[in-house]
Amino acid sequence: MNIVACLKQVPGTTEVKIDPKTNTLIRQGIENIINPFDTYALEEAVRLKDKHGGKVTVVTMGPPQADAALREAISLGADEALLLSDRAFAGADTWATAFTLSRAIVKLEKIDLVICGRQTIDGDTGQVGPEMAEMLTMPFVAYVSRIEEIKEAYLRVSRMTEEGHETIEATLPAVITVAKEINVPRVPSLRGIMRSKSAKILTWGIQELGVDKDSVGLAGSSTQVIKIFFPQRIHKAEIFSGDLEKQADALIDRLKSARIC
């Protein structure tokens, strides 16, 4: 099986600060990590490879420093790594990102399965996986929590929904995004770390991909972030006093007047 795991390098915190002047994230002093949701995608890919043979290729679009995330992925069991890096890719929205990734994936050796994390912790959209499937014209399943069976031309997965679990069959090649319930990612291995230090990371830009610079990055994006801000929080706490019964009555009155009950 040839499996692609897509991953993104993100700031290693969910409490990012925003520069009020430029409206961009302040990344200084924050260590970059592999998007935590993507670590489940990678782990699942490596497990599938261990079981069915084949190879795992990790793909990321990002600045040259994203090389570190790919090396880490190799230490965790990925066989090959592809970095999509070009000035023209900068400022991409989910559409342009999915476009760039999908163009890279079609250029790879025949792929059976593409696995992504369910979302990133910085962008939080969860759109790249499904958009990519659409562009690749492959079936797509989101929030997969278990891969039940993989055969030559199809796979059966269980996915989480708000109400419970759904079992879905899809033909291969397919794109799935995985939920964190699917596995417990391993820690790297010593041999993996040693291999990752000397591994060759393939880098492709617009030329290698054969795409027009207007179809990628900011130019290829149909959405643009104009402003990022924290909603103002207006705290209004009311503390009831008196004996318990009085407090309970007061609470009921308040809930009623707020039309909550």
Binding site: R186, V187, P188, S189, L190, R191, G192, I193, M194
Partner: protein, 385 residues
């Protein structure tokens, strides 16, 4: 202190720490409480190639020596000494094989130990032979088709869990210790059975069991080296493994020092954190001195072993004795600093104090090792006089 590790050593140490913190800390209290063998952690260590560290490259290992082994043991012991000894005992059970095994024997057993698929163990101690290890009674009689083992081994770490046992038994009963030999016995060999898991004061996640051999036939090809050398092989093994116990002590003491420092920082009495009180400060300072002095001695001994020095008895005994005595003292003081909370089972220093005691006992009690050091001193004096 910077001990000038090379890239590979740093990688090993960092990864061992990561496993310790991510995989061991969350379960250590439960493993201790339930006295449950840490199979999940063994599998994590295996997946991370940790069992390859001490196996030569030709047999699918990473070719590390005593120093690399010490780094892993120290990091594991910093969070759980019971897990650390489980790992270290697999190395102990493989070392005689690595040193005296034939090419064929090494090919047969080492790759599975390296991958962590199989654990190893070493067995010399018997009911009549503890410190007096030469007084073993287990026999390995030469018969058609191999050696027939009879007898009982006691207090064997990884007993029942390991697949590969290096057993010291008498191939020539009449010659006593001079008739001892090292023989590999595989689990599931007919006539090889285990006693119940011992209930212990500390290192309770590790398995300690009795091994019983009742007309247990092992192939002749399982004999390691020449017959009659078993006792010498065992003594040589311990000379090379003792820095590992020292490392276990260093890690344990380090863990206790960190826990006590954290507690002293946070606990407020008489309107001030404990750590601002001179008495507590001096206790912590003394603990830190003990830990660092132990570490320096253990690393020096480990590097001396790796240098290929012929006689390392004294140095490795010193490292083991000093570091284990220090770990005992440091863990007792850690409990003292943490007061009543420290005495409670839900705070880790209590476990650390229980775990420390064994370090002064196994792989040669500290009394026996002081005897050995004193013998060396006397010999040297005699030579120079």
């Amino acid at each position: 202190m910077d001990y000038f590790f090379n890239e590979q050593q740093k990688t090993i140490k960092d990864l061992a720490r990561r496993i310790a913190e991510e995989k061991v800390i969350p379960v250590r209290a439960e493993l201790d409480e339930k006295e449950e063998f840490p199979w999940d952690i063994v599998r994590d260590l295996a997946a991370a190639d940790m069992f390859r560290v001490f196996i030569p490259e030709e047999y699918e290992g990473l070719g590390g020596g005593c120093m690399e082994l010490c780094l892993v043991v120290e990091e594991l012991s910093r969070v759980c000494s019971g897990v650390a000894v489980t790992y270290a005992a697999s190395a102990l059970g493989s070392m005689t094989l690595m040193e005296y095994g034939t090419e064929e024997q090494k090919r047969r057993f080492l790759p599975d130990i390296a991958s962590g698929k199989k654990l190893a163990a070493f067995a010399i101690t018997e009911p009549t032979a503890g410190s007096d290890a030469g007084n073993i009674k287990t026999t390995a009689e030469k018969v058609a088709g191999g050696y027939l083992l009879n007898g009982t081994k006691q207090f064997i770490t990884n007993g029942g869990e390991a697949e590969i046992y290096t057993v010291i038994a008498l191939t020539d009963k009449a010659r006593g210790a001079r008739g001892a030999s090292a023989i590999i016995v595989e689990k599931d060999t007919p006539g090889f059975v285990f006693g119940k898991k011992e209930k212990k004061l500390g290192i309770r996640t590790s398995a300690t069991r009795e091994l019983a051999f009742r007309n247990c036939l092992v192939p002749e090809s399982n004999l390691l080296g020449r017959p009659g050398l078993g006792f010498i092989q065992a003594m040589r093994l311990f000379d090379r493994s003792r820095p590992g116990i020292g490392a276990q002590a260093v890690g344990l003491a380090q863990g206790a020092l960190e826990a006590a420092t954290d507690y002293a920082q946070e606990r407020v009495q008489f309107n001030q954190p404990l750590i601002t009180m001179p008495v507590i400060q001096h206790m912590l300072a003394d603990m830190a001195i003990q830990v660092e002095a132990s570490r320096a001695l253990v690393y020096a001994a480990a590097r001396y072993v790796d240098s290929g020095a012929r006689n390392v008895t004294e140095e490795s005994a010193m490292a083991k004795v000093f570091a284990s005595d220090a770990a005992m003292k440091v863990t007792v003081d850690a409990v003292q600093i943490c007061g009543g909370a420290g005495y409670m089972r839900d705070y880790t220093v209590e476990k650390m104090m229980r775990d420390a005691k064994i370090l002064q006992i196994y792989e040669g009690t500290n009394q026996i090792l002081r005897n050995a050091i004193a013998i060396s001193l006397r010999k040297r004096r005699a030579r120079t006089a």
